[in-house]
């Protein structure tokens, strides 16, 4: 047994503990939560995640960028020639995701302890949250697509549960249902993709699939089909056009949920999946092209909608969609590690933004409309500062985390396709604009709410602010993980992931790397652009104190945008209505009128002929004899002459 194997066996326990701890936390809270004091349940949940995080650190320390550890736990679906095991794969990509999930997950648990303190569903909340983490961990740790799919659907379920957390509200429930169903549409794609792999490759292990795929001709129909189907799955989960509408609605859930699930972790599962299958995707340039188009379109589309949203969380939601689009654009460009990098930095600042928004809402006792805020910077300083920094990060303010990760993507876009670069840049500027519109309207100027609420504005407790501060630090310095080579350092992040992504490099079209000078120019352009946009926003919302109009006084394009281009309405008319109509039609017309009528008509014919035939029995002997004679005659004639 060599050293590596010893090393590996030592890592199995922590690897198993990583998902197990949240599961245990879930079970304890779920089964016995009722009997435990309320305060303890939150801490149990948080500590479970902390445990996972510590185990993840152990894993991180125990491995390096080239190692990958495969743990088969048991045969799950195994008979005949099908063998799908339940197992984990620990490699740099997994560990990256694990760190994000458990790390941010822990912070958000911590935050929630404060945030949810007064909620009657406190224990339930943490139960769900732990379950979510468990599934998310399965998603990223699985060593084959089906285990990933468990997590994939599992997080969907938790998302459903958490969006509809306040289940007394009908519209929240609708939002939850919508999220689940839309995800399921994607899931069907994923499932079919798996079928293709299982059928043609005989396995759905990552490694086998990758190996088998390489035996096929690049861009073959099969590969395109598989990757397209997988991407459909990713579209659902990561809220890409046209399956994005659930994500803004998902903001119905408690804010920490939005932070954890609908910003930092679950929605990035699609990106994780594509990066995980990077060899497959790089073999299918057509799909990559498609991903690029979808990503870019989503990025701009969502950003535009974000411009006119007035709900603090909705703005952040569209921003998330937009950023996800950016990430997919990166993937579409073949820049897998850049995409992942943005996932990480995005997790930091977007989680922070949501938590900050949560803190604002907490301070205002549930007020979410930015038109009724303003001037909050004075009252809640920690929140204000962290929120501001996060906004700067997302806007691409130089040298904050978002700046680096975005630039990396933009640089790749510039290398390959100038149009894409232009569009993404615009989208990035729009982002900067609406983010600062949000910041300025919330924290600057005068308070626009009632006096009554004003009195109660207070800073959040430490359990809430601590995560804000930690995340803020990460959002600020997170970019250091991936300092570009311009700064004459190794790109730490992409190096770390290189073992995962290098396999695909050979299949990607090679583009001339932009020179360092150009890269610096690009960075400057982006940075300066962002600053200019921020200043413009400052001018508009702080200097001139322009307030967003009431919804019903909007006209023209504004109205369309603020109504999210009526996408929901279109879906309603195109899919939902027809199905309900079809349902009634099937029930009434086909089921009742055609099929059942056919059945009943048979019965009716029989019974009516019974009623008719009984009339033959007239009770009259003469008739009977007559009928007998006629009968005999007919029979004789039949026998004799026919």
């Amino acid at each position: 047994m060599n050293d590596k194997m010893i090393q590996d066996t030592l890592l199995v326990t922590p690897a198993l503990l990583v998902p197990l701890l949240p599961l245990i936390g879930f079970l304890i809270n779920g089964l016995f939560g009722k009997f435990l004091p309320k305060s303890i349940t939150g801490w149990i949940a948080a500590l479970a995640i902390l445990g996972s995080f510590i185990c993840t650190i152990t894993l991180f320390n125990g491995t390096n960028s080239t190692s990958s550890l495969n743990i088969d736990i048991f045969d799950w679906i195994a008979f005949s020639n099908i063998n799908i095991s339940f197992g984990f794969l620990i490699d740099p990509l997994t560990i990256t995701m694990l760190l994000v999930v458990t790390g941010i997950g822990f912070l958000i648990h911590l935050y929630s302890i404060g945030y949810m303190k007064d909620d009657e569903g406190y224990t339930r909340f943490f139960t769900y949250l732990n379950l979510f983490i468990f599934f998310m961990l399965l998603l990223v740790m699985g060593n084959n697509y089906l285990v990933m799919f468990i997590g994939w659907e599992g997080v969907g379920l938790c998302s459903y549960l958490l969006i509809g957390f306040w289940f007394k509200n009908e519209s929240y429930n609708n939002a939850a249902k919508k999220a689940f169903v839309m995800n399921r549409i994607g899931d069907l794609g994923f499932l079919l993709g798996m079928f293709f792999m299982l059928f043609y490759f005989g396995s759905i292990d990552y490694s086998t699939v990758a190996n088998q795929a390489q035996t096929l001709a690049p861009d073959s129909a099969l590969l395109i089909t598989i990757t397209m189907l997988l991407f459909v799955g990713a579209m659902g989960k990561s809220a890409q056009l046209p399956l994005f509408t659930w994500l803004p609605d998902a903001m119905a859930g408690p804010t920490p949920v939005s932070a954890l699930i609908h910003a930092a972790t679950m929605v990035t599962a699609g990106i994780y999946m594509i990066v995980r299958s990077n060899i497959l995707f790089s073999l299918a340039p057509t799909t990559l092209m498609f991903i690029l188009i979808v990503g870019v379109a989503t990025s701009v589309f969502a950003a535009v909608i974000g411009l006119l949203q007035n709900d603090i969380k909705k703005v952040l939601a569209y921003s998330t969609v937009s950023q996800l689009g950016l990430m997919f654009a990166a993937l579409g460009l073949g820049a897998f590690s850049s995409g992942m990098f943005h996932v990480v930095t995005h997790a930091f600042f977007k989680a922070l933004l949501f938590l900050g928004a949560g803190s604002v809402i907490h301070a205002l006792h549930g007020e979410q409309d930015i038109r009724k805020m303003g001037g909050l910077g004075k009252y809640i300083k920690v929140t204000y500062i962290t929120f501001l920094l996060a906004s700067l990060a997302i806007s691409g303010f130089p040298f904050l985390s978002g700046f680096f990760s975005k630039d990396e993507i933009l640089a790749h876009a510039f290398e390959q396709n100038k149009t894409v670069w232009v569009i993404l840049s615009i989208s990035s500027f729009i982002t900067a604009f609406y983010m600062f519109r949000l910041v300025f309207l919330t924290f600057f100027g005068k308070y626009r709410g009632t006096e009554e609420t004003q009195k109660h504005i207070h800073e959040s407790p430490l359990t809430m602010t601590l995560p804000l501060i930690i995340l803020c630090i990460l959002a600020v310095v997170g970019g250091l993980l991936g300092l570009p080579e311009v700064f004459h350092v190794q790109h730490a992040f992409s190096n770390y992931l290189s073992s995962v992504t290098e396999g695909s490099a050979q299949y990607l079209a090679h583009h001339e790397k932009v020179s360092h000078a150009t890269e610096i120019a690009l960075m400057s352009f982006a940075g300066i652009g962002a600053i200019v946009v921020i200043l413009f926003a400052y001018n508009k919302y702080v200097k001139r104190s322009v307030l967003p109009l009431e919804d019903n006084s909007l006209t023209g394009l504004d109205k369309i945008i603020s109504n999210k281009f009526y996408v929901d309405e279109i879906y309603e008319t195109v899919f939902v209505k027809p199905i309900t109509v079809l349902s009634d039609l099937f029930l009434v017309l086909v089921d009742k009128l055609i099929i059942d009528l056919a059945v009943n008509a048979t019965a009716w014919i029989v019974s009516t002929s019974g009623k008719t035939m009984r009339l033959m029995q007239t009770g009259n002997t003469g008739f009977y004899v007559f009928a007998m004679v006629i009968g005999m005659m007919v029979l004789l004639i039949i026998r004799l002459f026919i």
Binding site: G622, F626, V629, M633, L636
Partner: protein, 165 residues
């Protein structure tokens, strides 16, 4: 000679039979039926079944018809009490019976009863011959028919007995 005798008898038989059917008064019907039975007895005689002819007369004309007459008189039936069927049914029944006759004859149309040889025994219709047969070959049916009579006897008594409700 016997051919004419046969024809005469046959025509008489048919006429009297029809008269049974068409007589309005049940009494006439009964009487016509007796005539009919006599002609049939005539046929029996023609066919060398003298014993049977006698028995026939005794049983039918003597016993059964008397019974009929008795009932008809007892119930005081006459033409007025006879309910009439509608003409449609009458025509229909006549046609039906006629058709039935045609069908029956048609189904026997090819009946060739083969070369006919005069039976070497002409005495088959005599009492001795018939009696022997009846008490040897047909002994069992003969005895069994007693059961029939018993049953009919009890039954008739049971049914016709006058008794208070």
């Amino acid at each position: 000679m016997s051919l004419y005798l046969f024809l005469t008898l046959a025509i008489l038989t048919i006429i009297s039979a029809l008269a049974v059917v068409f007589s309005k008064n049940p009494m006439y019907s009964v009487l016509w039926l007796i005539v009919c039975f006599f002609t049939i007895a005539g046929h029996y005689v023609l066919l060398n079944a003298q014993f049977l002819a006698i028995v026939h007369l005794i049983v039918y004309a003597g016993a059964i018809m008397v019974l009929f007459l008795f009932v008809v008189m007892l119930l005081n039936l006459n033409a007025d009490t006879e309910p009439h069927k509608s003409n449609l049914t009458k025509i229909a029944s006549a046609i039906a019976a006629g058709l039935f006759f045609v069908v029956l004859i048609a189904s026997m149309r090819a009946t060739e009863l083969g070369e006919f040889n005069l039976p070497n025994k002409t005495s088959i219709g005599f009492v001795e011959e018939v009696g022997k047969k009846l008490f040897t070959d047909f002994l069992l049916p003969f005895e069994i028919s007693s059961v029939l009579f018993l049953s009919a006897m009890i039954g008739s008594v049971l049914l016709a007995k006058k008794e208070k409700k």
